[in-house]
């Protein structure tokens, strides 16, 4: 039987963000897969070169909505190294806390999406409902649900008070119980297990060869975690951390690794909240950054996030390179798709927790001060009527 090609994307219900796969299928089995990125390219790397460091702080946050803190953290750590400033200890604790809370919200989101991709919508609804707890918490701590804007050069912008710490501890106790339930459910519900066990196998050698990162690599038994290998914000130094891996290499292992990481994050958060040192939360930072170059890495929720920053002694960086974890995981995804069933495509893709906004970073940018093309209500209405009038509908 000859093969035929299915386009998955740029718009497809399985993809929450635009990207494009071309799957060559033979019946229900995929024989070849190809990838095209760039639908979300916003030119952030180019844009960063024309913005000051303070503006870039917020620009980096907007690379992605889910790992907003990870990118800012990575960028800020790098710039602080260039500036040569030491961050107060209380500030690093709060930075670590917000990073782990973000990981919790992202992993809960992923659990829900995994459920949704295999048609288990109830699982999706419950995990997302419980994720709201963490979103409310983040809003309470930082003033916003998604873009926390908590990082600044030399520390954090908001301090924690006693009431907030209490609320955090309560929420974490609640989420710990729920996560245990989901972990149990994910491993016992037959239809769910049937869809994830043995699906999307990625052997350890392949994970190493294709440079997979994050939970994907850890679920294949590769013990890489930037928090352990290349510690930042005090991991391993004064904040205890244990790497979580699984040998399965399939989607079930990825679910388990993420659930275990959730538990580990709860432990870290509780440790931080109970051992928060007193003191300042920020020191003054210069506006100009001395010349130099730095490679900064952070373990984002999806894996290793790496920034290369080069400064030239002015207020604006010379080059900012962002490599988000999703891009590193695409080769492994293409490998996993070959030989899989068409029905497993969405869950395999979702298995790496893809984030197109992170992957693509560039598009034409209109000068916002200039003539912004605006479609007002009436023009839109007229356009619609003309469009349908021409087609005689």
């Amino acid at each position: 039987m000859s093969t035929f090609t299915i386009p998955v994307g740029p718009q497809h219900p399985a993809l929450k963000e635009p990207t494009s796969f071309r799957l060559e299928v033979d019946g229900e089995v995929i024989v070849n897969a190809d990838l095209r990125l760039g639908y979300n390219h916003r030119g952030i790397e180019k844009l960063a070169e024309s913005r000051s460091y303070i503006q870039n702080l917020f620009l980096m946050e907007r690379i992605c909505g889910i790992c907003s803190n990870a990118h800012t953290a990575c960028f800020t750590h790098g710039v602080e190294k260039l500036m040569g400033i030491e961050v107060p200890k209380r500030a690093t604790y709060i930075r670590c806390l917000i990073g782990e809370l973000e990981r919790v919200h992202s992993h809960l989101l992923w659990l829900g999406v995994a459920g949704h991709e295999v048609g288990f919508d109830t699982f999706f609804m419950y995990t997302w409902r419980d994720r709201e707890t963490i979103m409310d918490l983040l809003e309470l701590l930082s003033g916003n649900r998604v873009h926390y804007c908590l990082y600044t050069y030399g520390g954090v912008r908001r301090d924690l008070d006693e009431g907030q710490i209490q609320k955090c501890l309560e929420a974490i106790a609640f989420l710990r119980e729920r996560t245990a339930y989901y972990l149990n459910l994910g491993a016992t519900e037959p239809t769910f297990v049937a869809r994830i066990a043995g699906v999307g196998k990625l052997p350890k050698e392949k994970a190493l060869e294709l440079c997979a990162v994050g939970p994907l690599a850890r679920a294949s038994g590769v013990a890489v975690d930037i928090r352990q290998d290349d510690p930042y914000v005090g991991f391993g130094e004064y904040i205890p951390f244990h790497i979580q891996t699984d040998e399965g290499g399939d989607l079930l292992a990825r679910v388990i690794v993420r659930a275990k990481e959730l538990m580990e994050s709860y432990n870290i958060c509780e440790y931080i909240l109970k051992n928060l040192p007193a003191g300042e939360v920020r020191v003054k930072a210069p506006r100009k950054v001395p010349e130099g170059e730095v490679v900064s890495r952070v373990e984002a929720q999806r894996g290793e996030d790496i920034h290369y920053i080069r400064s030239n002694g002015t207020e604006k960086p010379d080059r900012v390179k962002v490599r988000a974890p999703t891009l590193a995981n695409w080769p492994a995804t293409l490998y996993m798709l070959k030989g899989a069933y068409v029905a497993d495509t969405p869950i395999i893709m979702a298995g790496i927790d893809p984030c197109m906004s992170c992957t693509d970073r560039m598009v034409e940018i209109a000068d916002v001060r200039g003539d912004v093309k605006v479609w007002d209500w009436e023009t839109l209405r007229q356009y619609g009527m003309n469009f349908h009038g021409k087609r005689k509908v």
Binding site: L37, K46, K81, C211, D229, P231, V295, D367
Partner: protein, 157 residues
């Protein structure tokens, strides 16, 4: 935290690849920078892969220095980042591909080719990855002489 340290990597590189590498510096804990000429890159990459056991390449950064273009290969091993700087010419610059050793680098090479116009010899698949269809050939947005305003309407047919 365990495993090889930055200083060990540095001394190992200096001993074994004498003459091939320049300016090996440890700028910060676990950060090594070195410069390699394009034609020596395969040998350095092979040394890193076979002798030092580096399997992971984090990314390839492309940078326009104004006079030439350089690609920075960020290899990662036990928490150390070995950044190999490979300078090449701005026009028709080319660097040997490393995808036979590091299969994961294929997309990074495509991306650098897209945005800076560096050709990677040996990578057969250098189709546009991030730039839109219909992007004119020979226009590389991340070069310093490219600005948004000048390319206004670049996509209009």
């Amino acid at each position: 935290m365990s495993g090889i340290t930055a200083e060990e990597i540095k001394s190992s590189l200096e001993q074994n690849l004498h003459g091939k590498i320049e300016a090996v510096t440890v700028t910060a804990p676990r950060r090594i920078f070195l410069t390699v000429q394009p034609l020596d890159l395969p040998q350095v990459a092979r040394f890193l892969h076979d002798k030092l056991g580096v399997t992971h390449i984090s990314t390839i950064t492309g940078r326009d220095t104004g006079t030439n273009v350089e690609a920075l290969y960020h290899y990662s091993k036990d928490g150390n980042v070995v950044t190999v700087r490979v300078p090449t010419a701005r026009d028709n610059g080319s660097i040997p591909s490393i995808i036979s050793l590091f299969a994961g680098a294929a997309l990074y090479e495509r991306e650098v080719h897209d945005i800076l116009g560096v050709h990677f010899d040996g990578n057969g698949d250098l189709r546009p990855l991030v730039l839109p269809d219909g992007w004119p050939a020979g226009v590389y947005p991340l070069r310093k002489d490219w600005t948004y305003n000048q390319e206004d309407g670049v996509l209009k047919k």
